[in-house]
């Protein structure tokens, strides 16, 4: 039990995907101008990321590993991800048009979010069990979502600050991300490796 809790603490806080592992930065920078859209993106990513890490894990354990095709991981995973994204889109479209309206535009963006592929690859690297893989995927997604939402809210504020002209836009946003990452260093050591 504690082990699983630690996985979550580790992925959400200590090894936050965005701020310490540098994964998923493009959507982090791109979809964080408005809080609402950031929340939408966070939801969509959480869903897809968890699902796709599980699916990748399964594909790897039951297809690639038995056949000795580990070198095809990247291609397989990216296909799996594309499919999961498509699948998610379908399901959401069918079940909740409202949610679809909110999340619809973000789904295609997720395919090229390297956090998704990154999680799949990292999970395989760690050679762990199914539950761990699922938790790891979820934790990574939760960490991503959390900082994305916090960042979006901060950006809304910074957008109207008297920032020097040269720093307006992405420059100050990156510096903010840097300071966030600085703050997140406070969590280091929380989970002893």
């Amino acid at each position: 039990m504690t082990e699983y809790l630690l996985v979550l603490v580790s992925t959400v806080l200590v090894n936050n995907f965005v701020l310490t592992k540098f994964l998923g930065l493009c959507p982090f920078m791109g979809v964080s101008r408005k809080l609402e859209t950031a929340i939408g993106m966070a939801l969509a990513t959480t869903f897809v990321l968890t699902l796709s890490s599980v699916a990748s894990y399964l594909a790897n354990t039951y297809l690639l590993a038995p056949l000795g095709l580990e070198y095809l991981r990247t291609i397989t995973f990216i296909l799996v991800i594309a499919a999961v994204v498509q699948f998610t889109e379908m399901v959401i479209h069918k079940t909740s048009p409202l949610l679809y309206q909110v999340l619809g535009i973000f789904l295609p963006l997720i395919t090229t979010n390297c956090a998704v592929l990154g999680v799949a690859l990292l999970i395989v690297q760690q050679e762990t069990g199914f539950i761990y893989a699922a938790l790891y995927g979820f934790g990574a997604a939760a960490g991503f979502s959390m900082v994305l939402i916090l960042f979006a809210a901060m950006r809304e504020r910074i957008m109207v600050a008297d920032v020097p002209v040269a720093f307006r836009g992405p420059a100050i946003a990156l510096i903010t991300a840097g300071l966030m990452s600085l703050a997140f260093m406070g969590f280091s050591g929380l989970v002893r490796g």
């Binding site: 916090l150 809210a153 901060m154 008297d162 020097p164 720093f167 300071l179 600085l182 406070g186 929380l190």
Partner: protein, 358 residues
């Protein structure tokens, strides 16, 4: 008749930012006095130097940003930042530590965001964390309280060391520095000792216990000396609340949550977890509660939001102190909660007169 200022009110109370900042500085005096008493005059050099650098950096940045110098240099906020950062820097840290810290605080954390009022992160804490992770060696060696120091540096010797790195002949810096109480507690807990063992120096490996018997770093309730310094800050802080410079919400929430959570764990296992009183009177707890977490610019806005903000800092402080890699966690806890301020502000507004429900 000159052309009218178009708007009411036409009369203003005698409040000004300078006055607010001045009061904050005044409130720091009791803490400072205790600090000087226990750690010597070194801090005054650091403070003076930090203030100088801060004003210089602020002036240059204002010039570059084409903003008027006078109102911003006299508002006193850069001075508060500098003083608070100087408090966090070890008294014997070389001058360039202070310099780099202030530059990060004033230039990156404050002026790049538009200066006074716009910075989302607490400048002093940004400066401190940058230093802590970049120069951990300089930043983690503190000096023992004066009465136990093997050698008492004079003011001049102190200044010479800070600016040139030279110590009086025959002295090595290792001999003058010590880990802080929180640090010692943490590392020894990490080695499997219990709190009471550590405090009574029983069962420690001999080197440490030998050391502790010469230089006791634990006082009656907190760290030696630190308890008085914290007391000083508490006093100053209460005065600030009385003067309405700060609200009671953040300090109360911060200290309240810190106490609650430490009581909880203390009850579970007093051998593994330090007592609430120790938490309150060690490290920068009181400074954080009354002077750092309360930085109006970077704290939450509504009173409800402030309570949440304070509780968040208190809990994070405890978590990082107890299970994290940093013995004193004030800076990280504050910066982490700074990140959540816009969200808190977004979701916790005050209940408006005549509106119910939300």
């Amino acid at each position: 008749m000159t052309s009218p200022t178009p708007t009411s009110p036409h009369t203003l109370a005698a409040a000004s930012i300078t006055r607010v900042m001045l009061r904050v500085i005044i409130a720091l005096i009791p803490g400072l006095a205790a600090y000087i008493w226990f750690f010597g005059w070194g801090i005054t050099i650091n403070i003076a130097f930090a203030v100088l650098v801060a004003l210089g950096a602020e002036a240059i940045m204002l010039q570059l940003r084409k903003r008027p110098l006078l109102p911003f240099l006299t508002d006193g906020s850069a001075i508060v930042t500098a003083v608070l950062l100087a408090f966090a820097i070890p008294p014997l840290a070389p001058w360039w530590i202070t310099f780099i810290g202030i530059i990060f605080a004033i230039v990156v954390a404050k002026q790049l965001y538009g200066g006074l009022g716009y910075n989302p992160f607490n400048p002093a804490m940004v400066g401190y964390v940058v230093l802590l992770i970049s120069f951990p060696r300089e930043m983690t060696s503190w000096v023992p309280t004066l009465s136990f120091s093997p050698y008492e540096l004079s003011f001049v010797e102190n200044a010479i060391f800070i600016f040139t790195g030279h110590l009086p002949a025959g002295l090595a810096i290792d001999a003058l520095t010590e880990a802080t109480p929180l640090d010692t507690l943490k590392t020894n807990l990490g080695l499997g000792n219990t709190v009471s063992e550590i405090k009574s120096q029983l069962g420690l490996d001999e080197a440490t216990s030998r050391l502790l018997s010469v230089i006791p770093i634990f006082g009656a309730i907190g760290g030696k000396g630190w308890e008085w310094i914290n007391g000083g800050f508490l006093l100053g802080g209460l005065w600030l609340i009385y003067k309405k410079v700060i609200g009671w919400q953040i300090p109360a929430a911060l200290l309240g949550s810190l106490v609650s959570i430490s009581v909880l764990f203390y009850i579970i296992d007093p051998d593994l977890y330090a007592s609430p009183v120790f938490h309150l009177f060690s490290g920068a707890t009181m400074l954080a509660a009354f002077f750092i977490a309360t930085d109006p610019v970077t704290a939450a806005t509504s009173n409800r939001g402030r309570l949440i903000y304070g509780v968040g800092i208190g809990i994070l402080m405890y978590i990082i102190r107890t299970w994290g890699g940093y013995p004193d966690s004030v800076a990280f806890a504050v910066l982490l909660m700074n990140m959540t301020v816009p969200i808190i502000d977004h979701y916790f507004k005050s209940r408006v007169f005549g509106r119910h429900g939300d």
